[in-house]
Amino acid sequence: MIDTLRLTAEEAMGLLERREVSAADLHAAYLDAIGRHDDELHCYLRTCDEPGGDGIPIALKDVISTKGIETTAGSRILEGYTPVFDATVAARVKGAGLSVLGKTNTDEFAMGSSTENSAWGPTRNPWDPSRVPGGSGGGTAAAVSAGLAPWGLGSDTGGSVKQPSALCGNVGLRPTYGTVSRYGIVAFASSLDQIGPVAKNVRDVALLYSIIAGRDPLDSTTAELPEPVELPEGDSLAGRRLAVPRQVADLEAIEPGVRASFERTLDVARELGAEVGECDLPVSYRYGMPCYYLVAPAEASSNLARYDGVRYGVRVDGATFGEMVDRTRDEGFGPEPKRRIMLGTYALAAGYYDAFYGQAQRVRTLLIREHREALDGFDAIVTPTSPTVAFPIGDKAADPLAMYACDLLTIPSCLAGLPGLSIPCGLSDGLPVGLQLIGRQFGENGLFRIGHALEQAIGFDTVPERLR
């Protein structure tokens, strides 16, 4: 009997190695769990009936191109689009023997923080199906929590891996920008998009990161890892120095329950021998959001220009080329991509460029410097991952600014290109709270060690209470 709710990826690999189960058994067990739970949760947009490898299964967010498997990025405009090539990360997980279980739900073009913006309907949170799983990678995060995948890949532009992991009670890593190839990832904002692993614990996340990371000749912005990925061990934080940004204390958006859980986790860290100090990120919390909402939509407005109905996906005919493009994009894109295309087009327009996009890039440079200085003398910056726990479906759907504020704490380090690890650190009103650890460029190994030690001490049960 394979208990998909509890089985970690590492344990599943052990079962395979000891030949206690076959790859086909594992694949079937997860498909069976999907069959039982996914009508309710809607984590998957489509599943693969047969295992594609001799290893354990994996779920891939639907922004990751998979050869021969429809890839829509949660958008109607890509309905029926089947890539003729694998994204580099898809090729790497397949190369490691992993077999693709299916493609998971996402906000359209990864634009959102709740997975409600998917053209194919929202995903529900396994802890409380009346609530969102976070987003944009809600499908992968919910699938891992509900035992519908041992692990999976998401994409993170401003928090789309870290925030849903926090809201679903699992571990998610947004890697250092440039360590994981973006080749074949349906682009949202190129200078921010990063693929990251989601799993039940830090060791699984580290293992999956080791499979996907490293320079890719097909992505010029990638770099070789300066040191190999290490699977974390040990339970001490002696000599580790953690920094809490001074500004966190004043952020009213952080719910009391989240704050309480965060404070308790800092105590746990101290008990493990860590020193907890303060750092200063004034520009990050004041200007991070506006900066992000200029840079990301600007790049998105350009990245989404290719969906014109000429070569693939949906085409809505018109009397002229221009009319065909207009109608295709009008019917193909949902409200959030349209909103961001308009924002971004405006930010790049002649006469506004300097005031908006240019200014945002200068702020970004300041953010990078500020984070470097904040990390001086510390191993990691710690904050809650999300200011709130999972919120009810529909709660913020009509208020884009409230939705954007979900990523208040994750966005600054994304702009700075730094790695961030979210681990579950407790419950608030029965819903998971996430702790965000931000490290130096290429500092993943350090984050894994700290996250692993905390995880052991916290003893969070990743299985949603209602499914135990």
């Binding site: 922004v63 990025a73 890539p83 682009a187 992505d219 010029s220 290719r306 070569r311 790049l348 327009a349």
Partner: protein
């Protein structure tokens, strides 16, 4: 009425003949079936990313060095955003505010002395795909029933060279283009053939009163596919603008298509010019930072420029002959054949006229054999000379059998023939003696015909003149 001076700047696009495209590994080339030289990158599939072609960047730097440009320590590709079916990503990747090469110049040897033409920039970008618009009258997208796109060309590396408005006549623009084309071809980076579209030129034209320094409103002329058409297009536009100013009007900023068949300039809809391309740095690429050693090595390997060669060989010939030789890629053969003993002007004439006329590849010609032929050309029969020139490209060519055919210079053999021809044409003889000296050629031609080209024309000419001038 005041005198007007044209002010002309050019924008030149040259397709680089790299093996693969600018940002993917699809082959560059012609003649393949439609849409067979494509991949996810050059078709703009979701998630496909560009990777720079190192050779294209080196070649752009090489061109920049040949044009005496400063080579940027950091060049940046940007996205130029607009919708068109030949642009699969919805943007073109092009260097914009930080191009690889800036502030260059090219020497244009002119009859009045050296003229330096400023090169504002030379940058690298990707070419668009090819569209065919079916139906409609204009062959353009507006009014077409449907459009077909061949993405084979899409993504071909393209360098754009922008000159300063330093050219002062259509003829000068044409000579500049000939010289620039030769420079590009000799660098081995492009075939630069206008007929094939591997070289494309747009001209920016304005006029101003002679003696003035002002820059008046300029117009752009597109769609000219030969150097002669460019010259004609510029002339037509200069004339139009002078007419506008002199009739009290105002020249408006506008883009025109030049129709070589009718000589007409047709204005494009001005709306097309109002585009905002929303340039921003391409986040999928990193800046181009060529190592100083690479730039130095490329500079050291530059060949002598065509302009410098014109200046070098001009004293032995004249500007026009020197220009023809250099821009025709003929000056090396001229150099070598002169070194092998040929007379300078005679060799230039034979190479530029007879050799080119016979379609012989100058690179295949032995300078030594050519020099022997040039020296003997008045001694041997015209027919033998022409035959020999036509055979010069043959690697086994020897001048010997042709030189053996000495032309008939023996006066005792020629005199009776000449006398007969004079006797048969009394009218012409009288006319010549009456002052129509041009008829000398007629008599010489008759003798050459009679002797089947074997007579030495100079000897014949002397003999005829002697007899007529009695």
């Amino acid at each position: 009425m005041s005198a007007w001076e044209p002010v002309i700047g050019l924008e030149i696009h040259a397709q680089l003949k790299t093996r693969t495209k600018m940002f993917c590994r699809c082959p560059v080339g012609y003649g393949a079936g439609e849409n067979t030289q494509t991949c996810p990158v050059c078709l703009g599939f979701p998630g496909a990313l560009p990777v720079m072609n190192r050779r294209a960047i080196e070649w752009t730097i090489k061109l920049g060095l040949a044009l005496e440009c400063q080579i940027a320590g950091q060049a940046v590709f940007a996205r130029k955003n607009y919708f068109y079916p030949d642009l699969p990503k919805g943007y073109q990747i092009s260097q914009y505010d930080l191009p690889s090469c800036i502030n260059g110049k090219m020497l244009l040897p002119s009859a009045e002395g050296d003229h330096m033409i400023g090169i504002v920039r030379a940058h690298l970008e990707e070419d668009a795909a090819k569209t065919v618009h079916v139906g409609g009258r204009t062959g353009r997208i507006g009014g077409a029933e449907s459009s077909l796109v061949d993405y084979n060309r899409g993504g071909t590396p393209l360098v754009e060279i922008v000159t300063a408005p330093d050219l002062r006549s259509a003829d000068e623009a044409k000579r500049f283009l000939q010289l620039l084309r030769q420079t590009i071809v000799e660098l081995g980076i492009s075939d630069a053939e206008m007929e094939k579209g591997t070289l494309r030129v747009d001209a920016n034209v304005s006029v101003r009163p002679v003696g003035s320094d002002e820059l008046r409103t300029r117009t752009e002329i597109k769609n000219m596919n030969s150097f002669n058409f460019i010259a004609r297009g510029i002339d037509a536009e200069v004339e139009r603008q002078i007419g506008v100013w002199e009739s009290g009007g105002e020249v408006e900023q506008q883009t025109y298509d030049f129709d070589a068949a009718t000589g007409a300039l047709t204005a494009r809809r001005s709306k097309e010019e109002a585009d905002d391309y929303r340039y921003f740095p391409e986040p999928d690429l990193v800046p181009v930072e060529p190592p100083a050693e690479l730039v130095d090595a490329l500079r050291a390997a530059l060949p002598e420029s065509p302009a410098a060669r014109i200046r070098r060989i001009e004293p032995a010939l004249d500007l026009e002959r020197a220009t023809v030789l250099v821009t025709g890629g003929l000056d090396k053969l001229w150099d070598d054949s002169v070194a092998a003993g040929a007379g300078e002007v005679a060799a230039a004439n034979v190479i530029a006229n007879a050799l080119v006329g016979a379609g012989v590849d100058p690179a295949a010609v032995s300078p030594r054999e050519l020099a022997r032929l040039v020296e003997a050309r008045e001694r041997i029969p015209r027919t033998a000379f022409d035959e020999a020139v036509a055979e010069l490209g043959d690697p086994a060519f020897s001048a010997d059998p042709y030189l053996a055919q000495e032309a008939v210079s023996d006066t005792s053999e020629l005199e009776p023939i000449i006398q007969r021809i004079l006797d048969e044409n009394p009218g012409q003889v009288a006319a010549y003696r009456g002052g129509k000296e041009g008829l000398l050629g007629f008599f010489v031609g008759q003798v050459m015909k009679e002797t089947q080209g074997k007579a030495n024309p100079r000897v014949v000419s002397d003999l005829v003149r002697g007899k007529l001038n009695v």
